[in-house]
């Protein structure tokens, strides 16, 4: 299935105020890959993600989803292909109840009746949130909000899942639940995060952004072994790879 392929080609983005958030980004992601985009605050991660389903358009360069460049004509299809989970779930849950929120996308796609019902409950089931269907979003905990936000995207059956800092602000249990969930998806995935332990578990490949360019791109384990590289990009080895401070045991 070719439309799982994302190609980013010499992407550059300058915000209206003159900030050059992305300078020259190129990479491609193939079917079923799970890729982390990491980097310090302000490295341009969110800016990059917003290009992937056409919320920002490149100042120069091009993005292709399944070999088709993103433009006005292909935008509706691209947005269906690329499911975007935003950083703040409050931005994503805007309907009065969880059910209506998850149904929002499918309704826009023209689903109704039995099919809609199945689609919504299926999506809620996958994130273990069926019991929340009738609740109002403001009554949910952060972890529940995050899971439901993912369900709102899953209900549109995207081919590629894009998540901006999914584990941000979660307690250990909710975080673990989310990681298990992410590992179960066999979509192509792009995840940004500062939670490098999560990255290590979920993504086999990592791209480091630094100052608007791709500083490194390779297998996650190799990248996390490169101390000099991490330090240069203001990152720190995931805890699970550091030596144990108590027993002095060596990390992986």
């Amino acid at each position: 299935m070719s439309h799982h392929i994302i190609e980013v080609d010499r992407l550059r983005h300058v915000y209206p105020d003159g900030t050059e958030a992305l300078r020259d980004i190129s990479f491609s992601i193939t079917h079923g890959e799970s890729v982390a985009v990491i980097g310090a605050n302000g490295a341009g991660k969110s800016t990059l993600l917003l290009h992937l389903n056409g919320h920002l358009s490149p100042s120069s360069g091009e993005i292709r989803i399944g070999h088709v460049p993103i433009d006005k004509a292909t935008l509706p299809k691209v947005r269906r292909t690329v499911g975007m989970v935003f950083q703040d779930p409050d931005d994503q849950l805007f309907m009065p109840t969880v059910y209506e929120d998850v149904a929002f996308g499918p309704l826009n796609l023209g689903m109704s009746g039995e099919e809609l019902e199945r689609c919504v409950s299926g999506a809620l089931q996958r994130v273990e949130a069926e019991h929340l269907a009738r609740k109002a979003p403001y009554r949910l905990s952060t972890g529940e909000k995050k899971r439901v936000a993912i369900a709102t995207v899953l209900s549109m059956t995207p081919d590629i899942l894009v998540l901006d800092e999914p584990t941000n602000g979660l307690d250990p249990h909710a975080r673990r639940q989310l990681i298990t969930l992410l590992k179960e998806f066999h979509h192509s995935k792009i995840v940004t995060s500062h939670d490098l332990d999560m990255v290590l578990e979920v993504c086999e490949r990592t791209i480091i952004l630094n100052g608007g360019v791709v500083r490194a791109d390779g297998p996650t384990v190799d990248i996390f072994r490169d101390d000099a590289l991490l330090r240069e990009c203001r990152l720190e080895k995931p805890l699970s790879m550091q030596g144990c401070p108590v027993c002095g045991g060596k990390g992986k």
Partner: protein, 270 residues
């Protein structure tokens, strides 16, 4: 900020009540919205000196509270909250309108006092009706009902968003205000400029949030028209409810209910 947060907590309580499951809860929201409208119009269309005619209208809130199993004390407390406004509106009437209208033995009651009390009673009735509507229907369902009754989609969306983000916004506002207080070390004084910047900040954040919400709507195929979900039916129960309710309202409006009941009772007794 504390009081606003408290008021919002109460909004959430109303929402919780709306999740109940009684005969009135189950009715289609349109029937309840229309019936409430009829009720409110009947109440406010009475002449300014009318008082006895208003009293029988208390039957409606009483019946709905009973059937809907609503906490009467809580609703009464909410209604009392708005009473000062009604008193403020009516309080000058006694001074301007001194013509004696009613004689209670040696005591002459002026038209001003009567119209003042009438304003308060009407406020209690209409605010009570609106609160009860919210408590047995829920705000989102009311919006949807208004849409199906012909209100433009754009207004409905506005109302829904307002409702949804009121909570988020007040939380943000509460946090910002707390942060300000913590750093002003108890100096209350004329800190207008810091309030202004706080407000500006909130406005900016609201704007940014609106942009992000719009983005996430677009990401899910939004094209300017809010999709309509599953719909409930306007059936026989709704028809009956609306019919009985509004004919009673109109009857009580056209004939003075208190007198009517009075003559009925004396008629039976004699």
């Amino acid at each position: 900020m504390g009081s606003i947060a408290g008021a919002l907590l109460d909004l959430k309580r109303l929402d919780q009540l709306a999740a109940g499951d009684s005969a009135v809860h189950r009715l289609d929201a349109r029937a309840k919205v229309l019936a409430t409208l009829v009720f409110i119009v009947s109440v406010i269309s009475f002449g300014r000196y009318e008082l006895s005619g208003l009293i029988p209208f208390f039957i409606f809130p009483a019946v709905l509270i009973a059937i809907g199993q609503l906490p009467a004390g809580y609703l009464a407390a909410k209604i009392i909250l708005v009473c000062p406004f009604a008193v403020a509106v009516g309080i000058f009437n006694p001074f301007f309108d001194r013509g004696v209208l009613v004689h209670l033995g040696p005591l002459g009651i002026s038209g001003g006092w009567i119209s003042c009390v009438s304003i308060v009673v009407r406020t209690v009735l209409t605010v009570g009706a609106a609160l009860i509507l919210a408590a047995v229907t829920g705000f989102p369902a009311i919006c949807r009902a208004l849409e199906r009754l012909g209100m433009p989609n754009v207004f409905v969306m506005q109302l829904l968003f307002l409702y949804r983000y009121l909570f988020v916004l007040t939380e943000e506002g509460g946090r910002a205000s707390r942060a300000r207080e913590l750093r002003s070390f108890g100096r209350r004084g004329l800190n207008l400029s810091s309030y202004a910047s706080l407000l500006g900040h909130l406005l900016l954040r609201t704007w940014q949030r609106a942009e992000r919400i719009h983005m996430s709507m677009l990401a899910r195929g939004y094209d300017g028209v809010m999709p309509v979900g599953h719909t409930s039916r306007f059936g026989v129960a709704e028809m009956l409810f609306l019919l009985i309710w509004s004919s009673l309202c109109i009857l009580l409006r056209l004939n003075n209910g208190a007198q009517f009941i009075g003559t009925l009772v004396t008629g039976i007794l004699s």
